[in-house]
């Protein structure tokens, strides 16, 4: 049944193959040119399973090609290294990979390359960041047992019972099977993330050497890295995929701030930067600075404010609704963001398949009168705190939101900044928030499910506010097992609707990302995941 779900993927491959897949050189573009794009210093070793932060992902994304990739037009998954992914019960998946692919060191990419890589990442003692992405695969608890008293506690985690996930089996050179512990219909959509990339034999022989000189299977090969300055890649001429780059060298330059990168972009010293800093957006200065070099598109992120439902007074649903109605989204998106944000009225991103507007109803509309009524119902009159880190350009809007609440409700609403993201996250993770807090979400994979399950299901991985609604959970479970995508979407939407009364998080706005390119680039498109679509770049 689930094969139906993968049909769009297959069609998409065909489309792309006829579209621009053949390595024809577009007229008038320089296919031997090199470009320089913005990056931040990778915070982790350059190993796919161990990098979940954006500075490292930009590099790995160019170096590796996974089973599926998300196409540029609508972020839908299309088969990349996968020939096919089939399932009958959404629990056992059979993956066939394409033949003839090679890693940059010449060794072939086989089913084993995937299975070994996934096993390595999931194995507890390897301590990878990406391990939790494999938690749905059967046998995860055996390779990555829970530490009984948390990682800070004196007790060590028990030794894993197994070294390999029992749910992964190599069938032959190009086939392997994945067994999940529970049926999960959208699983094939989730595996385009770099964490699921294959690893060559060389990695398992000498991990240190691999980290210094990563070997992938993607459109670009690693050349050199000057830590703190740049990473240089070059085109992989033996690349088998459809997304062959139309230029030669790719330099990912490390910047300490987006402001300084923007200064370079304006001076044409930098070829691409995927998100302009606040000083460029202010007063739409970027339009005069860059002119036709502005690149923009709606990307898959949604800004929300989450509530610590474990702390008073935020366990009060009426108060939560009052706060939501006291936020003037329209004015803030216009004044602070210069119209580059769109007020949100649902918890699911508008670009998602099945998105339905207005799921939040009146509770996401600015209405000081109604907000005051709800506040009176809640019986709360004390201060309201909004917490956010300030190192990612969040200060301005968070302050504006706090002021909006203060002006509309007449209560003392304060913005409380934390200086670094790490410090902020630590408190969120430890459930120590004493106020509502910023909670941005960028889709890991483009499915309506990704906007609900990880965030609001009881005990889910990113349900930091500890929201719990058994009816909502039951609806999600029903949707996960739904026989067709249409039915699943309908059920997910019903679940989403339940969030409105409870308001576990306030949807604020979705984003139109403003990027910029240099005058050397003829074409450079932005991907819905807020990154440069390398495949599209053409150098004049």
């Amino acid at each position: 049944m689930s094969r139906a779900r993968l049909v769009p993927a297959a069609v998409a491959v065909a489309l792309i193959a006829t579209g621009c897949g053949t390595p024809e050189t577009p007229a008038g573009s320089n296919s031997d040119a090199g470009i320089t794009i913005f990056n931040t210093e990778p915070e982790n070793p350059l190993v796919p399973g161990n990098t979940t932060e954006v500075g490292g992902s930009r590099v790995l994304d160019a170096l590796f090609t996974g089973l599926v990739e998300y196409r540029n037009e609508d972020a839908q998954p299309v088969n990349a290294m996968a020939e096919s992914i089939e399932t009958k019960d959404s629990k056992l998946f059979t993956v066939k990979i394409k033949k003839g692919w090679k890693f940059h060191d010449g060794s072939p990419v086989s089913a084993k390359s995937f299975v070994d890589a996934w096993n390595w990442t999931a194995y507890g003692p390897n301590g990878t960041q990406g391990a939790s992405f494999f938690s749905q695969i059967e046998g995860f608890a055996d390779v990555n047992p829970k530490d009984p008293d948390g990682p800070d506690g004196p007790e060590k985690a028990p030794a894993p019972k197994a070294e390999k996930l029992s749910g992964l089996k190599v069938v032959d050179e190009t086939t392997f099977t994945i067994t999940l512990s529970e049926p999960f219909a959208v699983f094939p959509v989730t595996i385009g993330y770099e964490v699921f990339a294959p690893l060559p034999e060389a990695f398992f022989k000498d991990q240190k050497a691999f980290e210094a000189n990563p070997i992938g299977n993607g459109p670009f090969k690693f050349v050199s890295r000057t830590v703190g300055t740049d990473i240089k890649l070059t085109r992989n001429d033996d690349y088998q995929g459809d997304d062959k780059p139309k230029f030669k060298d790719l330099t990912l330059k490390v910047y300490q701030s987006r402001e300084s990168a923007y200064a370079d972009l304006v001076a044409n010293n930098l070829d691409f930067m995927e998100e302009l800093p606040p000083n460029a957006l202010a007063g739409q200065k970027y339009e005069t600075d860059l002119g036709d070099r502005v690149v923009q598109r709606e990307t898959l992120n949604l800004q929300t404010i989450a509530f610590p439902l474990y702390a008073k007074p935020y366990d009060n649903a009426a108060l939560r609704r009052a706060i939501s109605m006291a936020i003037n989204r329209e004015e803030i998106t216009q004044r602070i963001f210069e119209g580059t944000r769109k007020p949100a009225e649902s918890w699911v991103h508008p670009l998602m398949k099945g998105y339905q507007a207005g799921q939040c109803g009146v509770y996401c509309k600015y209405d000081p009168q109604k907000a005051k009524e709800e506040l009176a119902k809640s019986g709360y009159t004390g201060e309201i705190l909004l917490l956010s880190n300030t190192d990612g350009g969040h200060q301005e809007w968070a302050e504006a939101v706090a002021n909006s609440i203060k002006n509309a409700l007449g209560v003392d609403a304060k913005f409380v900044p934390s200086t670094s993201f790490g410090e902020f996250r630590q408190k969120v993770n430890a459930h120590e928030m004493n106020g509502m807090y910023r909670a941005g979400w960028i889709a890991d994979y483009p499915s309506i499910e990704n906007w609900l399950t990880p965030l609001y299901r009881t005990g889910a991985s990113s349900n930091d506010g500890l929201y719990s609604n058994p009816k909502f959970d039951a609806k999600l479970a029903e949707a996960d097992k739904a026989p067709s995508e249409e039915q699943a979407i309908r059920l997910y939407l019903e679940a989403e609707k339940m969030l409105a009364e409870d308001m576990p998080a306030i949807p604020l706005w979705s984003q139109t990302t403003i990027a910029g390119k240099s005058n050397r680039l003829k074409v450079a498109n932005l991907h819905p995941f807020r990154k440069l679509d390398l495949d599209s770049v053409e150098v004049a």
Partner: protein
């Protein structure tokens, strides 16, 4: 002299231990876990956190941790960052860039500062003197980040005269950031040399030199300068130490890949190993620098003898 240097070097040992311990404790003994928040908008897997805690010995008592760190340091091993990069190597690539920037700044500061100071000191209470006094007052009062920002915006973006950031840290490219970095100290140097010159102008040896008929040029250039520059050189020496560690703002604005940016980012991302490593090096440099300045002092002023 030899005994003096040896004594000074021995005195450095407790200072070195104290500083590194202080920084180590501050960076690592922060409440909470330094590795949470490394995994984006989601919890880090518990196995990742415990692997990292093992790597940095965080489950040991603080003194034991510090002991282990010192042990590694004695073997020349600065440890690894959580990204698995050797801290020693990172410092080795970033430090020369900052040193270069500091030297450029020092040169600008010395040349402009001393010239302005000497000229205004010789013409006491003239127009030039007042000009130098007023302009240095302003330089002292404006924070460096304002100067840097304005220079980048006006000369880099609006006039297009300079590259807004340092694309590669060559001597020439570092002149503008060097200028910004030097601006504050330049004012101090100018005032210091002015005061010093003004004081020495009335000194007996100057009168003697003039009385015995030496040309004015020689009196100013040799006799007066040599005596007046002693405090200035002390200042310049300690300033070099300050530049090496204090260029955080300037390096950030102009994207210079040096120590300042490295350490600032490391503090924000809680990369304790890197912060401790960089500060250790900076403290060593500072201590050696002060020793050097004191020795230079004795060379320049024969009245000073260390024994």
């Amino acid at each position: 002299m030899g005994f003096y240097v040896l004594r000074r070097l021995l005195q450095m040992v407790p200072v070195f231990l104290g500083t590194t311990f202080l920084i180590y404790a501050l960076v690592w003994a922060v409440p909470g876990d330094p590795f949470e928040g490394k995994c984006g908008e989601r919890d880090c897997p518990a196995a990742y956190v415990s692997a990292m805690r093992d790597k940095f010995n965080l489950d040991d008592p603080l003194l034991v941790q510090y002991g282990k760190y010192l042990g590694n340091l004695a073997r020349g091993d600065f440890g690894e960052t959580s990204a698995g990069l050797a801290v020693g190597e990172r410092i080795a690539t970033a430090f020369p860039v900052t040193l270069r920037l500091a030297l450029v700044a020092l040169l600008i500061e010395a040349v402009i500062g001393i010239t302005a100071g000497v000229v205004s000191g010789l013409r006491n209470r003239g127009f030039l003197d007042s000009l130098v006094l007023v302009s240095t007052l302003f330089l002292i009062s404006i924070p460096v980040f304002v100067t840097g920002y304005v220079v980048q915006l006006v000369f880099g973006l609006q006039l297009g005269l300079i590259s807004p950031t340092v694309t590669s840290p060559t001597w020439g490219n570092l002149i503008v950031p060097g200028f910004v970095l030097a601006s504050l100290s330049m004012a101090y140097v100018a005032r210091l040399s002015r005061a010093s010159i003004a004081e020495n102008r009335r000194a007996d040896y100057v009168r003697t030199a003039l009385a015995k008929g030496l040309p004015q040029k020689r009196v100013v250039g040799v006799h007066m300068l040599r005596n007046s520059l002693i405090p200035v050189i002390t200042f310049l020496g300690t300033d070099l130490g300050a530049f090496l560690g204090g260029a955080i703002v300037t390096e950030g604005i102009f994207n210079v890949p040096g120590v300042g940016g490295l350490v600032y980012r490391s503090i924000l991302t809680k990369d304790g190993a890197m912060v401790t490593g960089v500060v250790t090096v900076l403290v060593l440099v500072y201590l050696l620098m002060t020793l050097l300045v004191d020795m230079l002092y004795a060379v320049l002023d024969p009245r000073i003898r260390y024994d």
